[in-house]
């Protein structure tokens, strides 16, 4: 299903009408309905998603009231596409705003995600028809739609000069709430979030504050002290050490005073049971 609607149309999203330069025409793909725009939360961030960013996203998604929220994002690689993916796995509706003509998929390698969004009742939006290639200037234009549709925007990871900051600034100027996830001071992709937090953004560590802002019901409080009762002393020591800081096998081996071969087999069991996961040779707590 695809189509277009002009600003005069009564189904045109009202929040987008309020911004200074709303798109005259919106092209869409997917099942268009007015309610989808009721509680839009924009989630954007860096193209270079770190593992921290990914984990932060999934932690926040666990507590967001996704039954009533629509997740809006920009379909870029990194945080954007992860935001879409998480929304799909949690059965939430999601809207992808494209920086290119409605007929092309950008980036091309995310075709599966694109189809998934449409199949699961989401929308693909663009202000450009046909097959216009994305240009440098279309990205910030796209960002204004993301900000304009959303009642609040969550910035997950952003470096000091990133497009995510443009989205945040626009959202702020439209009078929308900006949330941000604090990050490590050593991480490059946390610098933008830190700057935002110093001006108008509100730092969050879960979806609770966001639900409250939208006036939505909080259906559970995130329990950071997961069930570790099942673990014996040594396993618990391993899990709690990687919880503090991701570590390599050598580092854990030194800490736990286990040989690499004993530790490897313990780690396998822990990861099968979902306590630990491995990325690029480092071990993280789930």
């Amino acid at each position: 299903m695809c189509g277009e609607l002009t600003i005069e149309n009564r189904t045109y999203p009202s929040s987008l009408k309020l911004i200074p330069n709303p798109p005259k025409t919106l092209y869409y793909k997917g099942f268009f309905r007015r309610e989808i725009f009721d509680n839009c939360l924009g989630i954007v961030g860096s193209r270079k998603m770190s593992i921290y960013g990914k984990k932060a996203l999934s932690r926040i998604y666990k507590t967001l009231n996704l039954k009533s929220l629509t997740i809006v994002s920009g379909f870029m690689t990194g945080i954007d596409s992860q935001a879409h993916k998480n929304a799909l796995t949690s059965k939430a509706t999601t809207i992808a705003v494209m920086p290119c003509g409605i007929d092309i998929i950008h980036p091309e390698n995310q075709e599966d995600l694109y189809k998934n969004i449409i199949e699961n009742g989401g929308l693909i939006l663009s202000e450009y028809g046909g097959n216009l290639r994305p240009q440098l200037w279309t990205y910030p234009k796209r960002n204004r739609i993301v900000a304009g549709l959303s009642r609040a925007v969550l910035i997950v990871e952003a470096s000091s000069e990133s497009g995510s900051l443009i989205t945040a600034n626009l959202a702020n100027s439209y009078g929308r709430k900006v949330f941000t996830v604090p990050g490590s001071i050593f991480s490059d992709t946390s610098e933008g979030c830190r700057q935002l937090q110093n001006s108008y953004a509100y730092g969050v560590s879960s979806g609770v504050e966001i639900n409250e802002y939208f006036g939505l019901y909080n259906f559970g409080v995130f329990d950071s002290g997961e069930d570790m009762a099942a673990l014996n002393g040594l396993d618990e020591k391993i899990v709690s050490s990687v919880k503090k800081e991701p570590a390599t096998l050598d580092e854990i081996s030194e800490l736990s005073e286990l040989s690499i071969s004993e530790l490897s087999s313990k780690i396998t069991l822990l990861s099968i049971n979902g306590y630990i996961e491995e990325r690029a040779g480092k071990y993280y707590a789930c």
């Binding site: 193209r47 270079k48 690689t77 990194g78 390698n109 490059d188 390599t248 096998l249 050598d250 081996s253 690499i260 071969s261 004993e262 490897s264 087999s265 313990k266 780690i267 396998t268 069991l269 990861s271 099968i272 491995e278 990325r279 690029a280 040779g281 480092k282």
Partner: protein
Amino acid sequence: MLVKVESIALSGIQTIGVTVEVNVFNRGLPTFDIVGLPAKSIEESKHRIKAAFVNTNLEFPSKKIVTNLAPADINKEGSFYDLPIAVGLYSAVFGVKVPDKSLFFGEISLGGGVRHTKGALLLALYAREKGIKNIYIPSACSNEAAVVKGIKVYGVSSLEQLFQHLSGEIKIQPVSKISNPPQQKKRSEDYVDFKDVHGQMQVKRALEICAGGGHNIILVGPPGVGKTLLARALLSILPPLSESESIEVTKIYTSVGKVPPHGSLMYQRPFRSPHHTISYAGMIGGGTNPSPGEVSLSHRGVLFMDEFSEFSRAVLETLRQPLEDGFVTISRSKGSLTFPSRFTLVASSNPCPCGYLGHAHNKCKCTRNRINLYRRRFSGPIMDRIDLHVTVHPVEFSEMNQKSSETSRTIKERVVRARDTQLRRFSNDGVYCNSEMTNTLINKYCDLSSDTKSLLQLSSEKFGLSTRAYFKIIKIARTIADLSKSENIKETHMAEAIQYRGRMV
């Protein structure tokens, strides 16, 4: 008068019997011709023989001489027909009988001496196979040929000595035992000891498993973390070649003339580290007269490919067949040859073009797109054939001065013991180590308890392992069990093996 002398022709590592026929005519102008598709080096042999005769105080016959290398339709190469031709000529002119059931082989010098010649082991093996009792070869080759039992090896040092032997004036004694072959020089890589490499416990363990079962391994990590050093240290823990392995390796090396004079069998495993600009022909072998490439020169040893991603696509893809089958077949217009190529692949690579992806302190400067393009260079089929996937992390400076780890000697003891277990296990199966197990052998020797099996099934669902990966993990677990002297594969062995699986990146 017609005289026949037996010798061989070499084609790669295969041998074909050749009869050298020498006819000295009583009439006709004095000429010396060699027929039977000789290469340039054989054509030139007449000049060497002439000069050698003169310098041995023999008169070179002023007669029409024709030499035929039968069968006449195979191309012949090499300098070793000097000796059979000279013997044939001597016999024809001076009426001395050429001994029966004897092969002659060797290059001669203008002065009448007999020089070291490549291929002596192949000759000796051919002789044994055909039931030929005596071989006459250069004395510099006798150590090499004498490893073959059941034949008499006569080391010849000069034409004069051989002629006197043939005419019964003196007797050359056959070589009875190998006399001090020159010490194979220690390679610089041998000096890297595991105890001198700080930290990197996980990589060391992975290399131990790699050596313990002949598993292929890839090390991925940022520049300067010691990937190359660790790979070279692997040499210090490789088990020595068993005798039959050693013969396989020496056959390849002698066919290209890489066994030194007075050298005998190779007892060190080969370690080849070709530069990444190598051509595909250099890698699998080639040339008009096909010669073995790096994959065959590292047979039963290690092929170390540093900067794996920088090798050209063509070179990487040619590795598929040798990795899977353990041999390569090279076909050229002059014929096709098969060389064995059962090597352990040790590859090292950066995780991304700039090298710092996932580094704790240095920031990666690559875009996602560039990383994807870089990853695409590792083709799936090749990565799937690598058993152990290990990430190498930089060592913190604080770790550098800590207590040193095990020495290579201790690790090597475990490796050798594990390999011995495997040799005994596979004594009737035609393979040498765990990595060569076929699925039938896996079923035969890797009995899994129900707990172990369910652990493997669980993790194969959790981590999305391919069927090939599933069997690879069992093989690794078998090696881990062998290293810890365990008869059965226990759950802990399996769990450790799962840690070395390939990751989707």
